[in-house]
């Protein structure tokens, strides 16, 4: 119908465009980053403005072990993508399993921390501005971890039952981008909440 706009004597040159999955995920990351920035700004703005205790200095402990787990899961998911790219299914499943495990450890550690804060230190989201901003910021990040873990678990299941093959590398790569973003956000949250804010 519309060879219309085709000009006859066009030399065929290679026409390569970026992957839409990667571009789409990059856009989502920018939008999510903007949401996190607003929560971080609120955290910093209200730092030390709580009218009552407890304060961050009183109750927060550095979550070093769980942070190491989360950050190293960035490496394992990268290895999973690389293994899938080379068509090694067993290795893919192994690395994906390791990623899910490490992310799970991080979540469990957060749950333990919150349990301690709520039942021992009496800090809830209603207690003071610190509770308000702390639970919402860390909770927002934890929500993203949960979403990532669900997706990674699905990928693990697909890898185990053999329906994910090396032609799906691009998709797993998009998922890994999201996971790297979740880890990068944790570095910022860790710095703001546990290092600067304490």
């Amino acid at each position: 119908m519309s060879e219309a706009a085709t000009i006859p004597n066009t030399a065929p040159e290679p026409w390569v465009l970026p992957s839409r999955g990667i571009v789409g995920m990059a856009c989502l990351i920018v939008a999510e980053a903007a949401i996190f920035i607003i929560f971080i700004v609120a955290y910093l703005y209200y730092l030390g403005k709580s009218l009552t205790g407890p304060t961050p200095h009183d109750v927060l402990e550095l979550p070093i072990f769980s942070s190491i787990c989360l950050l190293s899961s960035s490496a394992t998911v990268h290895f999973a993508v690389a293994a899938l790219h080379r068509g090694k299914r067993a290795a893919t499943s192994l690395w994906l399993g390791a990623t899910v495990l490490l992310g799970g450890i991080f979540l469990a550690a957060t749950a333990q921390e919150w349990y301690k804060l709520i039942y021992r230190d009496g800090l809830t989201i209603q207690t003071n501005l610190f509770g308000t901003t702390f639970y919402s910021l860390v909770g927002l990040h934890a929500t993203h971890v949960v979403v990532g873990l669900i997706m990674l678990t699905l990928a693990l299941i697909f890898s185990l039952n053999g329906s994910m093959t090396s032609k799906h590398t691009g998709r797993l790569e998009v998922l890994s981008l999201y996971w790297h973003f979740v880890d990068a956000v944790w570095i910022v949250v860790f710095t703001v909440v546990y290092v600067l804010g304490r």
Partner: protein, 559 residues
């Protein structure tokens, strides 16, 4: 031109008549960018009529002093619903609708990058609009307090706190905006991915139609604009449902922080709305001046520049709150700086028209109205950017007049222009030019009567959002004239609606290229087939159809 033998139209075989249930099923389940675009536009037009009716009710109430046409409570709901609807459920969807429809056609693609995400974004945004209006029935809740939201479209804290907004009216407002925001981010993501990843061979970035460029900038702006609003709405929900203290001043929270968060969204949002309007002007002005656009690279650079600068001007909405002098100075200067790239655009449009063979179609007339009124709106904007001037007039009808000059005088005018320009492509039939010119003149007179004069009661000290006023203030004559202008605008809009319906059935057949235009959407039939292009086109310049029609003198020789 319909006569162009190279451009075929698609009226090969008439489709058999289908049951309305089949048609409905077709529209509800569609992932076709053209149908989704049309649904966006139709949904926005319905809300335009609703929010326009609300404006009319407010103008009736304000026409004479000491009026009791509506109660103060209803008046508060009217201006809240009018503002919220116009921004989130008219402005955004109609612009996304045009973008959805036009972008794949203009870059020679068969659909958006993520068709199902596209449908999801539309339906979630549509549900948001439904939720907002459902508040009239549902907001009563168990408390029996509250109906439609009445906290103003920017919902300043602490008005939104549980204590001051019992019932669920504010919750409906928050959720509606949250959902609309999710839809906007989804569509913006889709537009960026489509523009970057779906272009036809030869459609390099520097050959894209300017409309596509502007939608790209607008979509990038949506990520950093709508997201902060989404974050702020999450905080508000936490405050209202879980008892957190983000905006609770009694627990040390800050009401001013909400203002910052809201306007970090609110001002770039103006540019999210105006950039697509520029996009339409960029397509309409060259075609009806019969010249290529003047200064393509400068136009692109100015658009990107506006995108960046618009992120640093938000607090000029807050001069009257009382900020430090450093902040006042910064935001005054940043606001003034944004008029530089905007000025570049106006000069480039003028240079495009200059020496052209101007065709005064209804579309072009609305576009020239846009140019003129956008300039005036920009000038009052520069006045208000000066902090001391703003201290005097902020929160008065002068501000209302200023931003309606942008939203109606610029955005709505160019939208009407875009309708007259692309309606033939979307339906296959021309809109009536004669009715279009009546529409233009009636609406123009009504617009100037309302919004030129609205500056004056502002200067005389009439504050915004009051539901009535005393007779001895000297505002009455102005308010009567303003309200009569609103009636004229209503008549003009009804003419437009009539024109759209009449032309759909009776308008002259348009053919694929009624305006002798140059971008790819005019190379396929009107309306385009589901697959847009039977053969994906290849382009060699910014005006592929010009190359096609003038093989002896193609643009590619000059770019």
């Amino acid at each position: 031109m319909a006569a162009n033998p190279l451009v075929t139209d698609g009226f090969d075989q008439p489709a058999p008549r289908r049951l309305w249930l089949q048609v409905l099923h077709d529209w509800v389940t569609t992932v076709d960018h053209k149908k989704i675009g049309l649904m966006y536009i139709g949904y926005a037009l319905i809300f335009l009529v609703v929010a326009g009716a609300q404006a009319l009710l407010m103008r009736i109430q304000l026409a004479v002093p000491n009026n009791h046409f509506v109660s103060p409570q209803v008046f508060n709901q009217l201006f809240t619903m009018h503002g919220t609807t116009m921004v989130f459920f008219v402005g955004m969807p109609v612009l996304f609708g045009f973008g959805n429809y036009l972008i794949p056609l203009m870059i020679g693609a068969r659909d958006m990058a993520f068709p199902r995400l596209n449908a999801f974004s539309f339906w979630v945004a549509a549900f948001g609009g439904f939720l907002l209006y459902f508040s009239y029935l549902g907001a009563n809740g168990l408390y029996g307090a509250g109906s439609a939201p009445d906290v103003g479209w920017w919902a300043y804290a602490p008005l939104t706190a549980r204590a001051f907004s019992p019932g669920h009216s504010t919750d409906y407002w928050t959720l509606a905006i949250l959902l609309s925001g999710v839809g906007s981010i989804g569509t913006a993501l889709n537009i960026v991915a489509t523009v970057l990843c779906m272009r036809c061979p030869g459609m390099k970035l520097n050959r894209m139609p300017l409309l596509v460029w502007l939608y790209l900038v607008m979509s990038c702006l949506v990520f950093v604009t709508i997201s902060p609003l989404t974050a702020a709405q999450i905080m508000l929900m936490l405050d209202r449902y879980l008892g957190s203290h983000f905006f609770d001043t009694q627990a040390g929270g800050s009401a001013v922080l909400w203002m910052h968060f809201f306007w970090i969204f609110g001002h770039p949002e103006v540019y999210v709305l105006i950039l697509p309007s520029f996009a339409f002007a960029n397509e309409i002005i060259p075609v009806f001046s019969r010249k290529a656009i003047f200064g393509y690279p400068a136009m692109v650079a100015a658009s990107v520049g506006i995108g960046f600068i618009s992120l640093s001007v938000w607090a000029h909405h807050m001069f009257t709150v009382g900020m430090s002098s450093g902040a006042n100075t910064f935001f005054t200067l940043a606001t003034m700086a944004i008029s530089v790239p905007t000025g570049i655009k106006i000069f480039n449009w003028l240079a495009t028209i200059w020496g052209g063979k101007i065709h005064f179609t209804a579309s072009m007339m609305f576009t020239i109205g846009f140019l003129f009124q956008f300039l005036i709106a920009g000038l009052t904007g520069i006045m208000l950017s000066v902090a001391p001037f703003d201290w005097q007039l902020g929160g008065s009808y002068f501000v209302v007049a200023h931003f309606h000059y942008v939203l109606v005088g610029a955005i709505l005018f160019i939208l009407f222009g875009a309708f007259y320009y692309w309606y033939p492509k979307m339906t296959g039939r021309m809109l009536s030019e004669k009715l279009g010119k009546w529409h233009f003149w009636i609406f123009l007179i009504g617009f100037h009567l309302t919004f030129d004069l609205m500056h004056i009661p502002g200067i005389l000290g009439m504050p915004r959002r009051i539901y009535t006023y005393e007779a001895d203030r000297g505002w009455m004559i102005w308010n009567i004239l303003i309200s009569s202008g609103a009636v004229l605008q209503t008549i003009g809009t009804l003419l437009f609606v009539y024109n759209m319906v009449w032309s759909y059935f009776k308008g002259p057949i348009a053919g694929p290229d009624p305006w002798d235009a140059w971008t790819l959407e005019w190379s396929t039939s009107s309306p385009p087939p589901v697959y847009n292009f039977a053969v994906i086109p290849t382009v060699e310049s910014r005006r592929p159809l010009w190359d096609l029609k003038h093989p002896e003198d193609p643009d590619s020789h000059y770019e």
